[in-house]
Structure formats: C-alpha cells, structure tokens
Point group: C2
Chain length 139, copies 2
C-alpha cells in the first residue's frame, strides 16, 4: 500500500516527502477530513508543517486522483482517499461521514436519468443527509 502510493507519486513527478506521506496517512486514518483536521493531525506527527503545505499538497493529490474532494452542504469540503465509487451518509449535525456502497441498481437508474441528453457523465455523487446515531441521542 505504502509502496503503491510512492509509485503513483513518482509517476506524476511528485516526491514522497514526509509531509506528503503524513498528509495522506492522516486522511487515511480519519477517513474523511477537512483541511483543518488534516493540518491538526499532521502537525502532531510533523510539528513544523505549514498550513500552506497542506493546501498545496491536497490540491496536487486531488489533481492526480489520489484524493477525492467531498463537497458538503454547510461544512467545509472534506477529502478522502480515492477508492471505489461509493456514496456517503452525512450527519447534518456533526458532519460525520460514513461510506456506503453504490449499488448496481442505483448506477443503472442514474444512467437512465441522463438518457437522451448530450451529457458525458463521469462521476455519480450520492450523499444521504440526515442525523447520525450519536446526534440523535444528544439533542
């Protein structure tokens, strides 16, 4: 896994710097994290890392598809390791995200939606917003 990442970075002319690896593993550990959360986490491992470095790296890692941006209503965008297409369950209260698989049915139904349109579909983004277990029991 670590090996693969280094190879992908190399393929795109990006060096596997400690900062970069720290950022990636911070995101992997958290699952989904926004810039601040990545920065805070990375800073513990690498106290001198700068916020601008986090921004710059996240941007370039998204550009080479190692990371994926997750735009959210009312929350700052989060980032996740780019893996299989999947959907998200998002808590409106705390912003927690849980991954959930995308079924074939949904992909099929979605394809039907754009039938007849001259639109070149590339990604499906399905987010289910609501209230998570924890937040239901809080208030």
């Amino acid at each position: 896994m670590q090996k693969q990442i280094v190879d992908i970075l190399k393929e795109y002319g990006l060096k596997a710097t400690p900062q970069r690896v720290t950022i990636l593993s911070a995101i992997e550990r958290q699952g989904h994290a926004n810039i601040d959360e990545i920065y805070k986490d990375a800073k513990e491992k690498h106290s001198t890392i700068s916020l601008a470095t986090v921004y710059k790296n996240v941007t370039s890692l998204v550009a080479i598809d190692l990371l994926k941006e997750v735009a959210l209503n009312n929350f700052k965008p989060k980032y996740e390791i780019n893996k299989q297409p999947h959907s998200h369950i998002v808590c409106k209260k705390c912003g927690e995200i849980e991954d959930i698989s995308l079924t074939n049915e949904i992909e099929f139904d979605t394809a039907k939606l754009i039938e007849g349109k001259d639109f070149l579909a590339e990604d499906i983004e399905l987010n289910i917003y609501g209230v998570c277990h924890n937040c239901q029991n809080v208030g």
Copy 2:
C-alpha cells in the same frame, strides 16, 4: 408566486425588502447561482446593494428553506429556489447545473442503502458530474 414568497417571509418575521426580492428573483432567473453571480445580477437591478447583504440574505433564506444550498466539487456553492427534491447534472468544466427529476426507483434504492442503520435520513443529494454539451464542443 410573488405573493406566496411574501407570505413565507412574513411567517418567519422577515420583511419583503427590495433587496431580498431582488436576490430571490436573481436566483430564480439564473436557476443556480453562487454568491458572486447573485451579487452581480442583483447589482444591475439595485446598484447600491452590498455584498454583505447578499451573504446575509442568502443565509437567512436558506435557514427558512426558501433557498437550498448546492455544494459542488471545485466550485463555490450555488443556491437555488427550494422546490421538489431533484437531482443535478453538473458540468465539471463550466460549472453549469441542470436539474433533473429524481425517480422513484432511485429513492427506493437509496432507502435500501441505509436499511438497518440507525440513521435518520432526511435528504438525498444526487449529482452527476461530467461534461455538458457546450463544453464537449469547445475542447
């Protein structure tokens, strides 16, 4: 229509100021617009309107569900008049959004996704990202 909006505003203790009405009709005219687009449009009708007023009103109109925020990857959030649940076709190049209906099948399939989870689902957000007709022909 105009009448309904005024009533809804009143219900929430918001005055039907010219600025507010201008903002709403700018969004209605554009279909989907971000803060800058709303501001630019509104400024033509109402040259002294301030950007802060746009921010403030958009926020409060979202709060009373007259508007809905549409979070987007790589673009600033846009706002739309809150109507029937529907999905979006989003062009990755130009950011244009087209509304498209949400089918019963998709709602059904989505419900199945969260079966068994202690999650109180409220909204489905389905965005299909790709390249629109115009941008396919540009480059």
